[in-house]
């Protein structure tokens, strides 16, 4: 085989990191709070995927635990911030 499976995972993870940096543009520019929030949410999903890819690439299965917790916190953050941008009433 020309390349090992580990390298493929690491290269994919690098590609995801580069894409995440581009998404960061939207988080900085906005213009509304919700735009930033959405961008951070996408960044969070990207991070979860990167963690899973690293778990496979570095053969560290416990990275997946971190990814699971990260996904949970990402969800909570989106709900919490969108809740507090609205002065009254619920968003769910």
């Amino acid at each position: 085989m020309p390349a090992s499976l580990e390298d493929v995972f690491l290269v994919t993870a690098a590609a995801f990191v580069i894409l995440a940096i581009f998404v960061f543009y939207r988080a900085v520019v906005g213009p509304t709070t919700q735009d930033r929030l959405l961008a951070v949410n996408v960044l969070g999903t990207n991070t979860v995927v990167i963690l899973a890819l690293l778990a496979a690439g570095l053969d560290q299965a416990w990275f997946l635990d971190v990814a699971l917790i990260y996904a949970l916190l990402n969800f909570l953050m989106s709900i919490a911030i969108s809740k507090f941008t609205v002065e009254r009433g619920g968003v769910l």
Partner: protein, 121 residues
Amino acid sequence: MIETIRFWLIAVLLGLGVFFTLVSTIGVIRLPDIYARAHTASQTDTLGAGFALAGVALAFGWEQAAVYTVLLLFFVFITNPTAAHAIARSAAETGVEPLLADEGTDPDETDGPAETDGETT
């Protein structure tokens, strides 16, 4: 032989994952308003993450880690639309106006000043 097939299968899955995430990234940067961006954000959540995590699960084979990965994907599938809905709802509640096609908005000119639409403060 089996190993080679598995290698290329994983490579293709990861490639598709990167492709859909790339499209989603382009969408998040190019699309004109928050509601349109939310559509393309769900592409990352579904196929981008889906293909990449499928590749990871395949690499782990029949281990517990593969079950973990599937669980992770299931979790992402349940929580992310809820989060996207909450964000869109919060945009609607705070009075961000959507750009709509039938109101004479030219979709070609979306990257210009239209981008500041919906700024409420």
